[in-house]
């Protein structure tokens, strides 16, 4: 039994289990157990992976599994992981686990909620473990579609509008992506050999440069929409603001990473020449994303909007770093994905918990919460500090790796965009401290807040697991970084093997 199959089987079993349950108590228990098992599996996978590497296994992809499921188009259910996907799977495990606990009190249609949530998680897991483009795309869709239901039914505010907007924009991304993937499929096979969707097979050949020029923007923008690439990011604030807590967590924490991961694994890895040529366009867009998101976050008044814009900024940094296309920056991008996934999930969890108590998300109506809900307050401050890149937390490691990597380019253009992107650390500090200052500190504005109670046990599990992960990466980054670096090396080698004289 290949361990990777379990990542699909366990959620499916969990979904079946939830179907048999009757009420909230049972379904959340089943979900928690299922996702707990999944989390343990993720850690087992990390362990097994490191053990394999330690034993000297140098294959690019480990734990390969391959089964044909649509022979006439040569579509395979092909699985395999390298250090990058292992890291992303661990991230997913933690976030989903925390998400289940964050929705512990989901009174309205609990079974359906947990089922949708876990289907979403299945899609994400499947995306990270598959190495067949078509299967990857299938899981990608599987992850995106439940979002519509989750926001449309369990959301707040203008939920139908937001759900529709989010789904439509992401579907538009999928459409672009499909063009890209099919293009890769048809133009990647050398004459005489059968067409294939397998990434590892495709990476052995070179797609003709003309096709790359055409397909790269489709693929990159397709994934970029999910990664909140400027100017295709506007689904993110509305979607996040309307989504229920766990969905925001999963969406910002994990789903947006599909964009970054895909852009990296498919767009850049398979089409390096075009990537080198066109990188400058997207570098400009992403550096705008970074600064623009941060500036927008400064003036927002809704906690979720602030965080959504902050996600735009941080995810912009991910794509920015990927486009720098050297080992260090890409390593930083992966760490940033994980780090942002954890931090933003923590943020959304906290916002959900605070909202559940105060019944408002407008910061102007709140104040002095530190006094009444010290646990949540402290965790919020920790999340904030992590988000603005304080050493000891994961954000710092990620950002510094990115900036050092980005600075390895000697030309003026790259220097300028790097400095522009780096300036976001100041702006981030501004909006984070603004929120913390208004929300937690100062006098209590509403006497009704005096009766609030601090975090319950399940909320503590949810937040503490995330804080631990953030701190673990922040204080001991080397194992993660080395794991990623090992797998990055062949990819970067492939990318830098083609030196194209781009515009810059």
């Amino acid at each position: 039994m290949n361990i990777l199959n379990l990542f699909i089987i366990v959620p499916v079993l969990t979904v079946c289990g939830i179907m048999l349950t009757k009420d909230l108590k049972q379904s959340r228990l089943v979900s928690a157990i299922g996702m707990g098992v999944q989390l343990i599996l993720a850690f087992v996978l990390v362990y097994l992976y490191l053990a394999e590497r330690g034993a000297g296994n140098t294959a690019t992809m480990l734990f390969m599994y391959d089964a044909v499921w649509f022979p006439s188009l040569n579509i395979h259910y092909a699985l395999g992981v390298d250090g990058i996907s292992v890291a992303m799977i661990a991230l997913t495990g933690i976030v989903v686990f925390a998400g289940i606990f964050a929705s512990w009190k989901m009174e309205f249609l609990p079974r359906e909620f947990f089922i949708s949530l876990i289907i979403l998680a299945t899609g994400v897991y499947g995306f990270f473990i598959s190495i067949d483009l078509f299967t990857m795309f299938l899981f990608y869709e599987l992850a995106v579609i439940p979002m519509y239901i989750l926001i449309g039914i369990w959301g707040t505010g203008p939920k139908e509008y937001s759900a529709m907007k989010l789904t439509l924009m992401l579907m538009a991304g999928s459409a672009l992506l499909l063009v890209g993937i099919l293009g890769i499929y048809f133009f990647s096979a050398p004459a005489g050999s059968p067409l294939t969707f397998n990434i590892m097979e495709i990476s052995k050949v070179h797609i003709p440069i003309e096709m790359q020029r055409f397909l790269f923007p489709f693929t990159f923008v397709g994934f970029g929409i999910l990664g909140a690439l400027f100017p295709f990011h506007t689904w993110s604030p509305d979607g996040h603001a309307s989504a229920p807590t766990a969905v925001s967590m999963l969406h910002a924490g994990v789903l947006m990473k599909l964009g970054g991961y895909g852009a990296f694994r498919v767009a850049i890895f398979l089409m390096p020449q075009a990537a080198q040529e066109q990188a400058w366009i997207f570098l400009i867009l992403t550096s705008i994303s970074v600064v623009y998101g941060a500036f927008s976050a400064i003036v927002q008044t809704d906690l979720k909007y602030i965080n959504a814009y902050s996600s735009v900024s941080h995810c912009g940094l991910v794509l920015f770093a990927i486009l720098m296309m050297n080992q260090t920056a890409m390593n930083g991008a992966i760490i940033q994905m994980i780090s942002h996934g954890l931090m933003t999930a923590l943020f959304f969890a906290l916002i959900g918990m605070i909202y559940g108590r105060t019944h408002t998300r407008l910061i102007n109506e709140m104040g002095g919460l530190m006094k009444v809900i010290p646990f949540l307050g402290v965790v919020y401050v920790i999340a904030g500090l992590a988000s603005l890149g304080l050493p000891g937390f994961s954000g710092f490691v990620a950002e510094m790796t990115i900036f050092v990597g980005a600075f390895q380019h000697v030309d003026v253009f790259h220097r300028v965009v790097t400095i522009v992107a780096a300036s976001s650390i100041v702006i981030t500090a501004v909006y984070i401290l603004r929120v913390v200052g208004i929300l937690l500190f100062g006098p209590i504005k509403n006497p009704h807040f005096l009766e609030l109670t601090d975090a319950k046990w399940y909320e503590r599990i949810s937040t503490i697991s995330l804080v631990l992960a953030i701190t673990a990466i922040g204080t001991a980054p080397w194992w993660l970084s080395n794991m990623i670096n090992y797998s990055l090396a062949p990819i970067v080698e492939r990318i830098s093997a083609v030196q194209v004289t781009g515009l810059f």
């Binding site: 390895q408 200052g437 500190f441």
Partner: protein, 638 residues
């Protein structure tokens, strides 16, 4: 070479204390928490003294100079082939000196706080933050490479943020903490860019490699030029921006006076003795690079330092909040140190300024911490910061009075108190380098003596103020640290710094240049005399003087309107003219475009749906005509 691995414990013990108090402190009795904090720091202090003794005396071979030793180092994060972030401890003269300064002041502040913070509901929180700060600061000075320094630099910033905002229910404290963090963060961006440039060009973060006079950093001095300055110079200027931010140099000084919103022991520890001199330490740490590789950058340091010192001194003369006076005094004194570094050369006698700067840093830590703790005792007694609410306290607070007086005399540079020696060295260094800066420092020396004695008279002499309840002397737990620091202030000047802390590790001979020292003492005395005349008894003279220099007074009182400029930039420009338009743009242009696309789709859908009228005969007609046309096309035309 001696083994210094154990120095690792010096920062780690406060870290452990921080975690212990942070996680379990709320279940402890306050006093226990305070004792745990103080004990932890005490152990660190003892280890620091032991290290200092071992380094300077114990294992030192006479005449060989002081080497820099890596006591411990691990690889933390691998970045590129060349660049790897390490964590470790670096033992060399300045780091050992800083260890002593930090642990001493921190220990005093810990003990003092047990009395000062008594009864505060967040007692354990206060001590855990103090420990966090101590950890970060110790980690900063022990950093083996510039990136480790940056890591702890940020941690120091956040501990400062937490401690300034300690009274988080007070909006002014929250605002001040935010301001401090963001202003220093902005400067840190410069620091980061500087690090990136420096490390990219030299291929290393490591201080030992960087400061090696024959190493790659200094060798790259001649590199490519941008606006007439070499890359190395630019990177060092950027790094200095970071240092200037932390050290509250002009124009990043605005956070420092506001930071006085924090509890007074915090001001003493962070905003007087340790964190604010981090900038000085940073420049000192990279001094060989500055001196040998980029003299232009060093000139920037000197001028920023010099300007800040006189700028702050002028403002200090007009402030009425005693902590703010001390804050500007701190800024002024740090300006001295910066200037001293800026005018220094490398090696031997040339490096006098370097030695003087560190010497002054050392003595300043003692007397400024003393001043702040004394001010804290005063505030503790009268519950106000305003000089107007005080007066004639010398009988109520005898110990505080004496120690405060000692500190004031010290800062005024009167022999044989410690600052006389350190300040004299600075003046000598400046005299040999740049006469204009030298003149500025003379003026600043006079102003310093003046405003310190203005403060002193305002608190302990002057008018008879009626108090709600009679002020009483602080408990022993607060006065003992005062006395210890007073002792330090008096006698620290006799430490032979020129033999211990020098730019190249080799001792040199230095003696007091009386031609410079005597006028400086006279100027100090003059300042004291003027202050005595004006402030010892209540009289109309100060108002008259203020009236004479009305505009200057007003400008200085408003800190030359720098706060307002910053407010203008942040509130108006960044908030109103950048952020809000961007947010508006996002909602009304980008999002509207997306919604517009959706709208167009919907509109076309409505337009097309008109065809679907529900009129059966219309469908029939279209069907028939369509069939006819298709038949026509496929049977006859094709």
């Amino acid at each position: 070479m001696a083994d210094y691995t154990y120095t690792l414990l010096i920062p780690l013990i406060p870290l452990f204390v921080f975690l212990l108090l942070g996680l379990t402190g709320h279940k402890m009795k306050p006093l226990v928490a305070g004792l745990i904090g103080s004990t932890g720091l005490g152990i660190s202090a003892i280890l620091s003294y032991a290290t200092a003794f071992k380094y300077f005396i114990g294992s030192h071979v006479a005449g060989a100079g002081y080497a820099s030793i890596k006591g411990f180092e691990v690889s933390w994060l691998h970045l590129t082939d060349k660049l790897t972030i390490h964590l470790g401890v670096l033992i060399d003269p300045i780091s050992v000196m800083m260890l002593v300064v930090i642990t001493t002041v921190s220990l005093m502040v810990h003990i003092y706080s047990i009395g000062y913070m008594k009864g505060d509901p967040g007692f354990y929180r206060f001590f855990s933050f103090l420990s966090l700060f101590s950890f970060s600061m110790l980690g900063l000075v022990l950093a083996t490479n510039i990136f480790q320094m940056y890591i702890f630099w940020e941690l120091v910033g956040v501990s400062s943020f937490l401690l300034i905002g300690y009274y988080y229910e007070k909006p002014s404290a929250v605002a001040a903490s935010k301001k401090a963090f963001i202003v220093t963060r902005f400067a840190d961006l410069g620091f980061l860019i500087g690090i990136l440039m420096l490390s990219f060009n030299t291929g290393t973060f490591d201080f030992q490699t960087l400061t090696d006079p024959h190493g790659p950093a200094i060798a790259s001095a001649g590199g490519a030029a941008f606006m007439g300055l070499s890359v190395l110079t630019w990177s060092l200027i950027f790094i200095f921006i970071g240092g200037a931010g932390k050290s509250a140099m002009f124009p990043f000084h605005i956070w420092l006076p506001d930071a006085m919103e924090g509890p007074t022991p915090v001001s003493a520890l962070i905003h007087a003795a340790t964190m604010v001199v981090a900038g000085v330490y940073l420049v000192a740490r990279l001094f060989p690079v500055y001196a040998l590789g980029a003299p232009d950058a060093l000139m920037v340091v000197a001028w920023v330092g010099g300007f800040s010192s006189i700028f702050a001194a002028v403002i200090a003369c007009t402030q009425t909040d005693i902590k703010r006076v001390l804050a500007f005094s701190t800024m002024s004194q740090i300006g001295y140190m910066m200037l001293s570094l800026g005018v220094s050369g490398y090696g031997g006698e040339e490096g006098l300024g370097f030695m003087a700067s560190n010497f002054h840093l050392f003595t300043h830590a003692m007397f400024k911490a003393l001043l702040f703790l004394g001010a804290g005792a005063v505030i503790h007694a009268v519950h106000t910061n305003e000089i107007g609410g005080m007066g004639n306290l010398r009988k109520h607070l005898p110990i505080t009075h004496i120690t405060f007086l000692i500190a004031c005399v010290t800062i005024a540079g009167i022999p044989p108190f410690s600052a006389f020696f350190s300040k004299d060295e600075i003046l000598v260094a400046a005299f040999h380098s740049n006469k204009l800066l030298f003149a500025i420092e003379y003026i600043v020396a006079g102003l310093t003596a003046f405003y310190m004695f203005r403060l002193y008279y305002g608190i302990f002499w002057g008018k008879n103020t009626q108090y709600h309840h009679t002020p009483h002397e602080s408990p022993l737990v607060m006065t003992i640290p005062l006395m210890i620091l007073a002792f330090g202030s008096v006698f620290a000047g006799f430490i032979p710094f020129h033999a211990l802390v020098t730019s190249d590790g080799l001792p040199f001979e230095s003696k007091i240049d009386w031609l410079i020292a005597i006028p400086s003492v006279l100027i100090g005395v003059l300042g004291i005399v003027v202050a005595t005349v004006m402030y010892k008894k209540e009289n109309p003279l100060p108002d008259k003087v203020a009236g004479t220099f009305k505009h200057l007074y007003k400008w200085a009182y408003h800190k030359f309107y720098w706060d307002e400029i910053y407010l203008f930039v942040t509130r108006k420009i960044i908030y109103r003219y950048i952020s809000e338009p961007i947010a508006w743009f996002d909602r009304h242009v980008i999002d509207a475009t997306m919604n517009g696309i959706a709208g167009i789709t919907q509109y076309s859908a409505y337009a097309i749906k008109g065809l679907q009228s529900g009129k059966l005969q219309q469908y029939g007609f279209v069907f028939v005509s369509g069939t006819i046309i298709l038949v026509l096309i496929f049977v006859y035309l094709v």
